[in-house]
């Protein structure tokens, strides 16, 4: 496919440093054959708005915010080299700097500074435009009434102390203390009332009121609703706080929350509403006695816990059997003995919540009574048990079964 190509070459004279630009036109013919045709005048390109025309190359450049924007025809040369791009860039930068050198300049500290013009390209901001400070309720009122702010001095003349006292701060408080070492009780006031405490209370209330109003202003600014009464907690109110809030909300009805329906998953808060009732300290002694005896009866256990005894017996028998199997050896090397819990019975005992040492004690006590463990133990315990026959039989059966295991 044949097409025309236009490109320009710039040469600089070695001695005069003058640039000569020549524009060439060449045809690419079918098989890649190139024919140079000579110089041609580069036409104006379709750029509409321009600020600067570079007379040399007749290309239009736009200078914007330290950029030179050239809309020029780029040759679709397949082997476009970096040199071509470099030349394009060079032209652009030359045009840019030509414009820059013409800008108003000033010299600061041996270097010339140039004031750049305001940017033309619209670049987006990083963050939104800041909103102005919101006026408070008082400021709005003052504006309406035309009340102007008067600058107050730091010190105030005090008639009583006959000196200049600061308007605020530590020394103000000291001065006040000096002044108010005594306070007159007004005629209509209670003689036992603490006037100092009263004054302190009033001051606290004023501070609280001020704080409330400040927060209200902030809330207004941030468009939040603040109720006049009730609870305004933090964003992350604890379960307890929420419970308290629901409790108050519930009981803020005419019937004090008696007929208030429950929400599906609502849990009643503990420790609210009803007070714990204590018993009377004075009154009938008999009633009190009865109460305490009932408690005692609950604690009191029966003489024999049959099942417990049976289990104990079985356990002890197992221990002795293991000991016999080992050949009466109680102690050996711990590692050889299989660790802390040496026997199966120990393990079982451990499961039952009793330690190895307790069993050892039992074994010792049994051994004292004499004879081989099995027979002796049975004989000894036999008469102590209530249902002896039964117990024996049962024990044996159970013991036998267990021992075999």
């Amino acid at each position: 496919m044949d097409y025309y190509e236009m490109f320009r070459m710039t040469r600089q004279d070695m001695f005069t440093h003058q640039e000569t630009t020549r524009h060439y036109l060449r045809i690419r013919v079918g098989g890649g054959f190139v024919c140079r045709l000579g110089t041609v005048q580069v036409p104006y390109d379709r750029q509409k708005r321009s600020q600067n025309i570079d007379e040399k190359s007749q290309r239009k450049w736009k200078l914007v915010l330290n950029c030179a924007i050239s809309e020029c025809f780029i040759s679709r040369d397949e082997d476009q080299c970096d040199a071509y791009l470099c030349s394009l860039a060079r032209d652009g930068i030359q045009a840019l700097l030509t414009k820059v050198w013409d800008l108003p300049s000033e010299q600061i500290d041996n270097s010339i500074y140039v004031t750049l013009p305001k940017p033309v390209t619209k670049l987006p901001r990083e963050k939104p435009v800041p909103k102005g400070k919101e006026i408070t309720k008082w400021e709005q009122y003052a504006r309406e009434k035309g009340i102007k702010r008067r600058k107050k001095g730091k010190k105030v003349w005090d008639e009583v102390l006959k000196q200049f006292v600061p308007r605020y701060g530590y020394r103000k408080i000291l001065a006040e203390k000096e002044k108010n070492w005594v306070k007159e009780v007004p005629d209509n006031a209670d003689p036992y009332e603490d006037q100092f405490a009263k004054a302190a209370e009033i001051k606290k209330e004023n501070i609280a009121k001020n704080e409330y109003q400040r927060l209200r202003n902030i809330a207004k600014h941030r468009k939040l609703k603040v109720p006049n009464v009730g609870i305004t907690g933090n964003e992350y109110a604890s379960a307890k706080d929420l419970g308290l809030a629901t409790h108050y909300a519930r009981h803020a009805t005419a019937s004090l929350g008696k007929f208030q329906p429950d929400l599906p998953n609502e849990k009643k808060v503990k420790g609210l509403g009803k007070k714990r009732k204590h018993e009377d300290t004075t009154g009938d002694a008999e009633v009190e006695k009865k109460r305490y005896m009932a408690v005692l009866e609950k604690i009191d256990k029966p003489d024999l816990n049959l099942e417990g005894a049976v289990h104990k017996q079985i356990r002890d028998e197992n221990v002795i059997m293991d000991l016999e199997r080992r050949g009466g050896k109680k102690y050996g090397r711990r590692s050889k003995m299989g660790g802390r819990h040496r026997t199966k019975s120990d393990h079982r005992a451990a499961k039952l919540g009793k330690g190895y040492h307790k069993i050892k004690a039992k074994i010792k006590s049994k051994a004292k009574f004499g004879g081989t463990g099995k027979g002796g133990s049975k004989g000894n315990f036999g008469d102590m048990r209530k249902g002896a026959g039964k117990g024996k039989g049962a024990g044996k059966g159970k013991g036998g079964g267990k021992a075999k295991r």
Partner: protein, 312 residues
């Protein structure tokens, strides 16, 4: 139960200053840039990111860890990062089979995504490959955009805006003439963008204006446009809104004439020229009644002489 949002009050002066630094302002801070990687990267794309970071070292933050960042799928983690580091520009690099040598350039408005463009990296030559003297870090570059596509095609136009914003650096009112060191060139050709970076050498020319000579220093890459997510018109408009304080003040009524003298017009209400205060001249004084009687008689005598012209 109503809940009031917590008012975060800083407890130290340093914290207060930090908050003020991050708060929206009339004249903004320089846009900070975040550089981070996706899970998998290739050598060239990693080098490219590092080279970009070297351009923006003063206003950039380089995150070493590779995390699964996929801006086109989920932008939220990147918005969190932007909030954390107070950065409104970001640049991610990744390499997958489907998208080899991928670079995503993006910017934020109010820590939410504004613009994002995915570019494919080809023919990359790193900074290190050009063995010559480089420029000092933090210099403002001069940018050249070549190619009609940057004006014609909307995507390229928006890309140009993004590139200007990205490589701009500090917003300067006055620049030192010796300070023009760096030049960046973006050429749009056949849907691709060629990125070249040069060092400006100012040589003596016959005139006052020096001759510009360029020496290629920086990375040279070919970027192909892949996916993009540009801001909608109204969002862009909202983001470009400037505060009233920055708008140039209109000066009315003052103009300068050819000689450079400052002229202005004074507007006055209509005046009764008869009651103007002028210098007192007795001859022009209006006569009183007594004097009139006297003058009448005298006038009768003088009337014969003819009318007297009185200059007003």
């Amino acid at each position: 139960m109503t809940v009031m949002k917590r008012v975060v009050k800083p407890r130290t002066r340093r914290a207060k200053r930090g908050l003020e630094h991050r708060a929206p302002k009339i004249t903004e801070n320089t846009k900070q840039c975040l550089f981070f990687y996706g899970t998998k990267t290739s050598d060239s794309v990693r080098q490219c990111l590092k080279n970009f970071y070297s351009f923006k070292k003063q206003d950039g933050k380089y995150l070493q860890k590779k995390k699964r960042y996929l801006p086109f799928e989920d932008i939220l983690p990147i918005e969190h990062l932007s909030q954390k580091y107070d950065a409104s520009l970001f640049c991610t690099a990744s390499h997958t089979k489907k998208r080899p040598n991928n670079i995503i350039l993006g910017r934020m408005y109010d820590h939410h995504l504004l613009d994002m463009v995915e570019l494919g990296l080809e023919n990359y030559r790193a900074l290190a490959e050009f063995k010559n003297e480089k420029i000092s870090a933090g210099t403002k570059p001069c940018m050249v955009f070549c190619g009609t596509q940057f004006e014609d095609v909307t995507e390229f136009r928006k890309l140009k805006n993004l590139l200007i914003d990205f490589f701009r650096g500090v917003e300067a009112q006055a620049v030192r003439l010796q300070g023009f060191e760096h030049a960046l060139q973006f050429t749009a050709i056949e849907g691709k963008v060629l990125f070249r970076s040069y060092r400006i050498l100012l040589k003596k020319s016959g005139t006052r204006i020096p001759r510009v000579e360029l020496e290629e220093i920086g990375p040279s890459l070919t970027l192909s446009l892949r996916r993009n997510k540009f801001a909608s018109e109204d969002l862009m408009k909202r983001a470009c809104r400037q505060p009233k304080q920055l708008k140039p003040k209109k000066v009315k009524n003052i103009n300068r004439d050819v000689f450079g003298t400052k002229l202005g017009r004074v507007h006055m209400t209509k005046q009764d020229l008869g009651k103007l205060q002028t210098r007192k001249m007795k001859g022009l004084k209006k006569e009183t009644n007594d004097k009139k009687e006297n003058s009448e008689s005298s006038n009768q005598e003088a009337s014969a002489s003819g009318p007297v012209d009185v200059d007003q």
